[in-house]
Amino acid sequence: MSMEEVQSTLLQAGEQLSEGSVSARDAWRAVHNTRAIVAAADRGLDKADLWLVTLETVQGHIGTIVHTGSSKLMAVDEKFTAVADDSKNPTVQTVRQQTDIAQGHLDGYTQVAGANIPETLLAVKEDIDFIREHLAAIRTLGAEMLGILSVAERTLQVVSLSAQNAALATRDYLIDIS
């Protein structure tokens, strides 16, 4: 290989290494941005967890309401029967029947509007648990991702610096042999 060819090759090598150094720096920035996005998603998770707690609380309240409604219906039925013992009276029959129907709906023995109230309420609780599990999985993945991204950040810094130093040393060598 002639001296000119060696010089030309070294010049190209220096340019490539210099370009690589800049690109590694860009990659470092991209990694840095990714970390910021993942960290922001983590803050979103905190908010989502709070909303879930609210959902669970209100779901619990509705469960209590349904249970209370059923108990009260039973109590009021007893109270009514105590004073309206004329079971042949059609109005009395209507009250008893409607109370039974309402209680059947609230206890889940019969469906209303195509829904079984206690089962649907339980399904909502399962929805909340499902969402919580998946949010937890996202949180774990996000934390691991942040760790790996910080490794990538550190490595790319080293790469950028090494490529830059290689480019500088190549140029110095070119001067040495010129």
Partner: protein, 178 residues
């Protein structure tokens, strides 16, 4: 029991039915609140939804690939004209050492904190995909939960306005009959 006493008792029973109706309608209102909270959760989940993380991970991988290409080429060109074991020139030796270091980090021969760069990139991409899948699962479940809450809302509303209201009216009618 005197008729007036029975009428008083039945008046109390009417109040009880009215209260049960109010309680059940209260749960319908709570479900409306719950759906609002679920809407907030959904928008929270969408903000976690890492479309942006996906994009950032892809950009990061592209940038790293861009950095790896010229660094590899630069190191290759250097080695084609310099044998670091044979040369006495320290600049030539440094150029080869730095270029090889950078190259080894980028192709995964050398590791940063035990992680190889290509593995880091594919792991980040995999995590981004997994997070995406979890978010999709959450959004799908929120939609199903909203449907269930709508059904509950309708069911509880119908119990309040149907059998409970009918029972209340019938007790009042019976009281008036006395």
């Amino acid at each position: 029991m005197a008729v007036e006493d029975i009428r008083t008792e039945l008046g109390e029973v009417v109040k009880e039915y009215k209260l049960i109706g109010t309680i059940l309608r209260g749960s319908v209102h709570r479900l409306r609140v719950l759906k609002h909270v679920s809407g907030r959760l959904e928008s929270g989940a969408r903000s976690i939804r890492p479309a942006s993380v996906d994009r950032a991970a892809a950009e990061m991988a592209q940038e790293a690939f861009r950095a790896g290409e010229p660094i590899g080429m630069g190191a290759f060109l250097l080695r084609s004209v310099i044998d670091p074991d044979e040369t006495d020139n320290t600049n030539a030796q440094s150029a080869c050492t730095f270029a090889t270091n950078a190259e080894r980090f980028m192709d995964g021969t050398a590791t940063g904190d035990g992680f190889k760069m290509p593995e880091v990139l594919s792991t980040v991409a995999r995590y981004a995909t997994e997070i995406h899948e979890h978010t999709d699962a959450i959004l799908g479940r929120i939609e199903a939960m909203n449907g269930r809450m709508g059904a509950l809302q309708q069911a509880l509303g119908e119990v309040a306005s149907g059998p409970v209201a009918t029972a209340e009216r019938s007790v009042l009618a019976y009281r008036n009959q006395l």
